[in-house]
């Protein structure tokens, strides 16, 4: 390792840890969200399925009050009378299912687009019908509904907010780090000064990459550490270590975004705005703050173009869903491809100075 790489890494790292604003936005701010989401919304499971009740549906209406509360955790029931309109709403993806009852027949219309949701709704009604049948057979009606039927049964709030918010934090840290270094060093004439020193460009770049990877790993350690505290209760799956290589390529992808923003922007302010405009909407649309499962189909499709979506998905899969290491290779490939394309673009846009 060259002494240029080492001293520049050190200079960058010192500059970072002494920058209170940067520390706040890359570590403390996302951590506040983690505490907020993981702590305050502790008892909420995954979001409820939206169901339309077409006309009176006895199996729903006759449920005893306390059971209704339980049911309310799973289903968000809206009443409608127009059957065609209801079916149309389901087709559009605004609702997961429409339920109608004609005499003894309970009909659940669901869209096959979201299999998980559809499965949830179906199994809930399966049970409701069974319970009602049992009641009719003379057994006292007792509903015992819980989240058991949902596929992501382990996904308590903390389980999905940790990877999501960590993804956002890493995206922020890497994008801002690269953009700010590039713009500030150009504005402060450090790049031109470095150009006159025998340091290799590769040392400058690898110093920035090294520091960003270090920051990302620090963010990961802090996030996982805090989320695993008993009061939050994060449970990591067996293959959580696979999230480390995922984070590595994710960091590369966001560094490359930062490099493009930094090469393009002229001032620190504009670099800041560009990075913010890229990262924040992306974080919303990539499921960093809330799961996208209940978002419209088209939005979910759009989200696929964001690297953060793939970073979040991959981390969710190996950290908490317990999927095997190989399952995230496609996501890692997408992130790596993203990083390569944008880095090439950044090298074309790169300027040592404004002269």
């Amino acid at each position: 390792m060259s002494s240029g790489f080492r001293s520049l890494s050190r200079a960058m790292l010192l500059g970072f840890v002494r920058d209170r604003t940067a520390l706040f936005f890359t570590i403390l701010f996302p951590l506040m969200f983690l505490v907020l989401f993981g702590g305050l919304l502790k008892n909420q499971g995954v979001s409820r399925s939206k169901v339309i009740e077409v006309g009176p549906v006895a199996v729903i209406d006759q449920v005893p009050a306390d059971a209704k509360r339980e049911l309310g955790k799973l289903l968000d029931v809206t009443k409608m009378t127009d059957r065609a309109k209801a079916l149309d709403a389901v087709r559009k993806g605004d609702y997961e299912a429409a339920v109608e009852q004609q005499g003894d027949r309970v009909m659940v219309h669901y869209s096959a687009a979201d299999q998980v949701r559809a499965g949830t709704v179906r199994s809930v009604f399966d049970q409701l019908v069974q319970q009602t049948n049992l009641a009719a057979a003379g057994t006292p009606p007792r509903l015992s509904l819980d989240a058991q039927q949902v596929e992501d049964k382990s996904l308590k709030t903390i389980q999905f907010v940790t990877p999501g918010l960590l993804g956002w934090a890493i995206a922020t840290g890497a994008t801002f780090g690269a953009a700010m270094t590039l713009v500030t060093w150009r504005e402060k004439k450090i790049l031109r000064r470095l150009r006159l020193s025998p340091v290799r460009i590769s040392s400058v770049v690898s110093a920035r990459v090294g520091v960003s990877v270090g920051v990302a790993l620090l963010q990961t350690a802090i996030f996982l550490g805090v989320a695993s505290l008993p009061s939050f209760g994060l449970k990591l799956s067996n293959y959580w270590w696979m999230s480390l290589p995922v984070i590595l390529v994710g960091t590369f992808a966001f560094l490359s975004i930062g490099l493009v923003a930094g090469a393009w922007a002229k001032t620190q302010e504009s670099a800041n705005v560009i990075a913010q405009l890229v990262v924040l909407p992306m974080a919303f649309l990539s499921g960093s703050f809330f799961p996208l499962d209940s978002a419209p189909k088209w939005l979910q499709a759009v989200a696929e173009i964001f690297p953060l979506r793939h970073l979040n998905q991959a981390m969710l899969d190996v950290m908490v869903r317990g999927k095997g290491p190989a399952s995230v290779l496609p996501e890692m490939g997408i992130l790596a491809g993203f990083a390569i394309v944008l880095t090439l673009l950044a090298t074309r846009l790169f300027r040592w100075d404004d002269v």
Partner: protein, 300 residues
């Protein structure tokens, strides 16, 4: 063995503005060379083309026989550069700055600390660069340029924004470095600085070098009268007019000034009459050279 620096026919335009318009000069090893001119003359542009930071539209530069453009890594360890705008890493102390620059050249921490000592910043070593005064920043910037013992040093207005005391200290430092055999190229808009420090100066205006040579040569080349001033009343005005027929005599109530092309007999006559109270003798300066070349007063 060729010159340390050879510059031939440099041109550089920014849109319609000819910032550098046909500049040529040579600098020999060990020389202290100054580029002197008012703001906007094209000094920085010239210097940065020579350093290899900007690409000339036309013309050629050689440093130690090699071209500095495009970035020439073989040359870089041999040159030290202080840019006009100081360039420091954010939120790093003076010591951390110079240690960082030192290690880019493979120079150890001990040498870096010595350099800090040499520019008198040891007691400011733990202060962040952005908190230093203008003069301290300038000295730190020069220390960073010199930390790897370059053979050739470029300084762009190193004493701008310094108080007189700090300027003098810096002059001493630069002279000492030059005495060690290093070649120095400096730009300045201070006439007196160029006159005192430089072996040779090039006077620049509107992107062109008007004249170059040693300051003494340039001044001598002007046929300018000497101005001799003494205290008013040391000698009566009428007597002065009678004695020094060829001189212009003027009394403003504070000083009596004699402007003459033959200062020696005038001084002898004044000494004879014991009339040297408050004496000052001023010959031509580079300012007069500039006035003579451009027909306008020198205003930096």
């Amino acid at each position: 063995m060729g010159s340390t620096i050879t510059v031939r026919g440099l041109h550089k335009s920014y849109e319609s503005l000819k910032a550098v318009d046909g500049v040529s000069f040579d600098v020999e090893a060990g020389e202290f060379f100054g580029i002197l001119g008012p703001n906007g003359a094209g000094k920085t542009t010239t210097l940065e083309i020579v350093e290899g930071l900007r690409k000339p539209d036309a013309g050629a530069v050689e440093l130690f026989g090699e071209s500095p453009w495009p970035r020439n890594p073989a040359l870089l360890p041999r040159i030290g550069v202080q840019l006009q705008a100081s360039s420091f890493f954010e939120r790093l102390t003076a010591r951390e700055q110079i240690h960082t620059f030192a290690s880019l050249y493979g120079v150890g921490a001990k040498k870096a600390d010595e350099m800090l000592e040499l520019v008198g910043l040891t007691d400011k070593a733990d202060v962040r660069a952005e908190k230093l005064s203008g003069g301290q920043m300038q000295r730190l910037s020069i220390a960073c340029a010199l930390v790897h013992d370059p053979e050739l040093v470029f300084l762009d207005e190193p004493t701008a924004a310094l108080d007189p005391q700090a300027r003098r200290n810096l002059w001493d430092l630069l002279r000492a470095i030059n005495t060690q055999g290093r070649t120095i190229v400096l730009t300045t808009h201070y006439m007196d600085e160029a006159e005192i420090l430089c072996d040779r100066v090039a006077i620049m205006d509107h992107g062109r070098i008007l004249q170059s040579g040693s300051p003494a040569e340039l001044v001598r080349g002007l046929d300018t009268p000497t101005r001799i001033s003494i205290e008013t009343g040391a000698i009566a005005v009428d007597e002065a007019r009678r004695l020094f027929q060829g001189a212009e005599v003027d009394d403003d109530g504070v000083s009596l000034t004699l402007v003459t092309r033959t200062p020696a007999p005038v001084l002898a006559a004044l000494a004879e009459r014991n009339a040297l109270r408050g004496l000052s003798v001023r010959g031509a300066t580079l300012e007069d050279v500039f006035l003579n070349l451009t027909g306008r007063e020198y205003r930096a």
